[in-house]
């Protein structure tokens, strides 16, 4: 037990560390408080207020992500007052954007009108591109919120599609500010911020330029943290649905940081990459190469069969022919010119296991220490 006393959440007493928020204490004890704007690693902004809780003796509901636990505090995370507040927030968010995920029935006239206007903005007749992968949608179901009305005008800002990687759909932005924090507080690329005010507010790059003309380096951290469909990878939007994919965790094959990432696979194709959150070394972050540089995997230029050169030109060969040729020529050179006229260049691109085998091959089979790799180059 902690000598600074306990906090009581939903009737149970919990110890806490100095500086710990109510949200963190609850999280550690498997009490689920919903969040939208809260971003691990960045200081809380209290922007969305979806995480509000009731603290006894406090007049107002308090955002749990920005309120520190205190001794003697008595907290309720799902009281009727709290639930009511959350429903209001969700309702407001749903009714101020193109949230056409059919949260509400689709039979009424205003749905049709709404859907038509969304289609015009979206250039697609499908439901929201992140349907099934959206925190706002999840919360709307969790709290059974039906928007009172559908928004008419959507947003004054057109979609931005002029860069190769990221689509910015301002009509679905809930202005939670996670992207701003991801860009400024996590990646420290300082490319985007809040701009304009009131209902015109917008996340802007530089003085409201396209991302490609700003300091943006296309790390995609903002896309990864966006809780809704406002920021989506261009190649994913309306092409891949989350439930069609499987995630495989692996290690980035570019630089020596060794970021942990998920390859999202659909029909034997890598269709998206995301960072693995909460583990070293990258804690969810990636760079443009790691996140968007995966096309080479399925490039039609990949070598798919062994090739041997004959009179200066390549022709396809069977594995047997190619491997026998290599073995025979290496043995010949070894016999006529000695082991040290042979060598191996192994690679910083292949695995440890493969490098080990290359090292064994040079030393035990060719019988030479002529082995190196190109990293010094």
């Amino acid at each position: 037990m902690n000598d600074q006393g306990n906090i009581t959440i939903n009737g149970n007493a919990f110890s806490f560390e100095p500086g710990e928020t109510i949200l963190a204490v609850a999280g550690r004890n498997h009490i689920d408080i919903p969040t939208l704007c809260h971003l691990k690693g960045a200081s809380p902004t209290g922007n969305c207020r979806i995480c509000v809780v009731k603290i006894e003796k406090e007049k107002d509901l308090m955002p749990s992500c920005a309120t520190l636990a205190e001794a003697g505090m008595v907290v309720h995370t799902e009281s009727s007052e709290v639930v009511k507040a959350r429903r209001l927030i969700i309702q407001l968010m749903l009714s101020t954007g193109n949230h056409n995920c059919a949260i509400r029935g689709t039979s009424s006239d205003d749905w049709t009108r709404f859907q038509m206007s969304v289609q015009a903005y979206d250039d697609s007749s499908e439901l929201c591109p992140v349907w099934g992968d959206c925190r706002l949608q999840d919360l709307a179901y969790r709290y059974q919120v039906e928007p009172k009305r559908f928004s008419d005008a959507g947003t004054p800002y057109p979609m931005e599609t002029v860069n190769p990687f990221i689509v910015r759909d301002f009509s679905r932005c809930i202005k939670c500010g996670r992207c701003v924090q991801a860009c400024n507080d996590i990646q420290v690329n300082n490319a985007i911020q809040f701009g304009y005010t009131g209902s015109n507010s917008k996340i802007i790059a530089a003085d409201d330029k396209a991302l490609k003309d700003s300091d943006c380096v296309f790390c995609g951290e903002c896309v990864q943290v966006c809780p809704v469909g406002a920021l989506v990878e261009k190649d994913v939007r309306y092409r891949v649905r989350q439930w069609e994919t499987e995630k495989v965790r692996t290690t980035c094959s570019y630089c020596g940081v060794g970021c942990q990432l998920y390859l999202h696979v659909k029909d034997n194709q890598v269709v998206k990459v995301s960072g693995v959150e909460e583990v070293a070394p990258n804690f969810g972050s990636l760079c443009v190469k790691g996140r968007f540089g995966y096309d080479f995997i399925h490039s039609p230029e990949r070598l798919t069969a062994p090739m041997v050169k004959e009179n200066g030109t390549f022709r396809e060969a069977t594995w047997d022919e190619a491997l026998d040729t290599v073995a025979r020529r290496f043995n010949e050179i070894k016999e006529t010119s000695g082991s040290d006229s042979l060598g191996v260049l192994t690679s910083a691109r292949v695995t440890n296991e493969e490098n080990y085998i290359a090292n064994k091959f040079a030393r035990a089979v060719l019988k030479t220490n002529n082995i190196d790799h190109c990293a010094r180059l």
Partner: protein, 528 residues
């Protein structure tokens, strides 16, 4: 790295040199930027270009190309003269201090300014800042190693860190940032001419015997072999006859490419195993198609010595095979039976013969990687090296004098050229150039030049120029940039069509065999 990546955020002073961190190690650069922006850490950047990370720096030291030993000695001169060094650390943990002191004596800030162009006051302030740190982290990359004095540069940084006691502590250390995903692993696994896996020397007969027993062979030579930078000239001379290249493209990455191409063409037999028909593969007699990372199981070891899993996500195209399987097949057909069921089996074998990996297995690193040395199954790994002592016991100071780079500017070739990478591409571009988006962001080669030099040569942004060195010439467009400083141009080396390495100098560091990519002399003229 002696320390971990996360550790950088625990430093209160960070010295970055020879690393264009935001472009080459973007995610790692965020740790530095966060430390500076949110945790009050101080940043010193020593780099000839005004790179992005320099914008976060409290001191940007702009050294002339190839003068690193001089400014590092200069910092130590200030630190010793002002008695700012860590006496206890120097006393208890190091030797050779007197020799170091003697040599750095002449590197007064004034003398260093003459050599490096770094204003004496800046150098002095930076020295005080680094010495005054509770934990000072040094991060460096190819800008330090790719010099004829590369080994000296690295040793000098180690001198500096030891002098201030910033070794073996959280947030400290000397941290080389590895450029390629598994350079660390390639070195760890014996992809070097002088060591078996785990840096076990080939000259140690007991080690040779151990390996021979483990592998069931005899006659492994105990003489170090050739580095790649030695193999190529020997191939040129006809002494070296057969080469097996796995996953590398030296025909864009090698210095003095024209020479390298002739050399490889002169081989009796060249096998290239790769995922693409690279420039190098074009020269091969046999090309073997290999899997890419998304198609295989195994491990990579990152810069911080963390061994992490690689997992198969998709099936490989066509008849493509695992690299290890191809190598094992060749071995078997040469009369040495080699066969493994899967990569896990190979990991078990290599752990058994490699003390620093002995405790590592796939189950242990399933969720989070382990830092080697990890000598036993119950060992937690070693995030921070040299905590109690150095590998050799006491840390040895190396007294090092500054030597000039191999090539200097003159009236014929009046500009310095330095080379490097861009954010949007990787190495020779064989992978990144398959992404339209990355190509759109960085479509072609360019010559980065200061507005001052552009004016001198009457060049407009975007105009085509010819860049010539003593070894070759290339054509590329001019890019006027605030990153460049007068007198030095920069060319990214990714692009085979305008390969910067047709210009670079193949002069090598005598110890590491690393070529001097970072300094050579060129001239430019408007393209005809």
């Amino acid at each position: 790295m002696t320390n971990t990546i996360s550790d950088i955020e625990k430093a209160d002073v960070i010295l970055v040199t020879g690393s264009n961190t935001t472009e080459n190690h973007p995610v790692l650069s965020s740790f530095i930027k966060r430390a500076v922006t949110f945790r009050g850490a101080k940043l010193i950047v020593a780099d000839p270009r005004f790179i992005q990370i320099a914008k976060f720096a409290h001191h940007w030291l702009r050294q002339k190309l190839g003068t690193d030993v001089a400014w590092i000695n200069g910092m130590m001169n200030v630190i010793i003269n002002e008695n700012l060094y860590d006496h206890a650390f120097v006393e208890k943990r190091t030797e050779g201090f007197e020799e170091l002191k003697e040599i750095v004596e002449k590197y007064t800030p004034g003398y260093v300014e003459e050599i490096t162009g770094i204003p004496r006051a800046d150098l002095t302030d930076a020295a005080r800042m680094y010495a005054g740190a509770r934990a000072g982290s040094i991060c460096y990359c190819m800008g330090i190693t790719q010099h004829t004095s590369g080994t000296d540069n690295v040793k000098s940084l180690a001198n500096l860190a030891m002098l201030c006691g910033h070794m073996g502590v959280e947030g400290g250390g000397v941290n080389p940032l590895r450029g390629q995903n598994n350079v660390q692993g390639a070195c760890d696994m014996g992809g070097l001419p002088n060591v078996f896996s785990g840096y076990q020397p080939v000259t140690d007969l007991a080690v040779v015997k151990k390996m021979e027993d483990a592998w069931g062979v005899s006659g492994i030579p105990s003489q170090p072999g050739l580095t790649v930078t030695k193999m190529i000239p020997k191939a040129h001379d006809g002494e070296f006859k057969g080469l097996y290249i796995i996953g590398e493209n030296p025909l864009v990455s090698d210095p003095d490419l024209n020479h390298a191409k002739k050399s490889l063409a002169n081989l009796d037999f060249l096998v290239v195993q790769d995922i693409f028909m690279t420039e190098t593969a074009q020269l091969a007699d046999v090309v073997l198609p290999a899997k890419c990372f998304a198609e295989k199981e195994g491990t990579f070891t990152n810069s911080e010595r963390r061994v992490q899993r690689v997992r198969k996500a998709v099936d490989a195209p066509g008849q493509v095979m695992d690299d290890w399987k191809i190598t094992a097949e060749i071995a078997t057909r040469m009369g040495f039976a080699m066969s493994y069921g899967d990569s896990r089996e190979i990991m078990e074998e290599l752990a058994a013969v490699t003390p620093s990996y002995a405790g590592i297995d796939y189950d242990r690193i399933d969720l989070e990687g382990l830092h080697w040395p990890c000598p036993a199954k119950d060992h937690p790994g070693t995030p921070i090296l040299h905590r109690e002592q150095f590998t050799r016991g006491k840390g040895l100071f190396h007294a090092i004098d500054y030597t000039e780079p191999a090539e200097n500017i003159d009236t014929e070739y009046p500009l310095f050229l330095t080379t490097g990478r861009l954010l949007y591409h990787y190495h020779t571009g064989t992978m990144t150039m398959k992404s339209e988006g990355l190509n759109e962001r960085a479509p072609s080669c360019f010559v980065e030049i200061s507005s001052h030099d552009a004016q001198t040569y009457d060049l407009e942004d975007g105009s085509m120029v010819k860049v010539e060195s003593r070894r070759g010439d290339i054509h590329a467009a001019i890019k006027i940039s605030e990153k460049a400083v007068a007198g030095t141009v920069f060319i990214p080396f990714h692009f085979a069509q305008a390969a910067a390495n047709k210009l670079t100098n193949a002069a090598l560091d005598p110890v590491s065999g690393i070529p001097e990519y970072k300094v050579c002399a060129v001239r430019i003229s408007k393209a005809a």
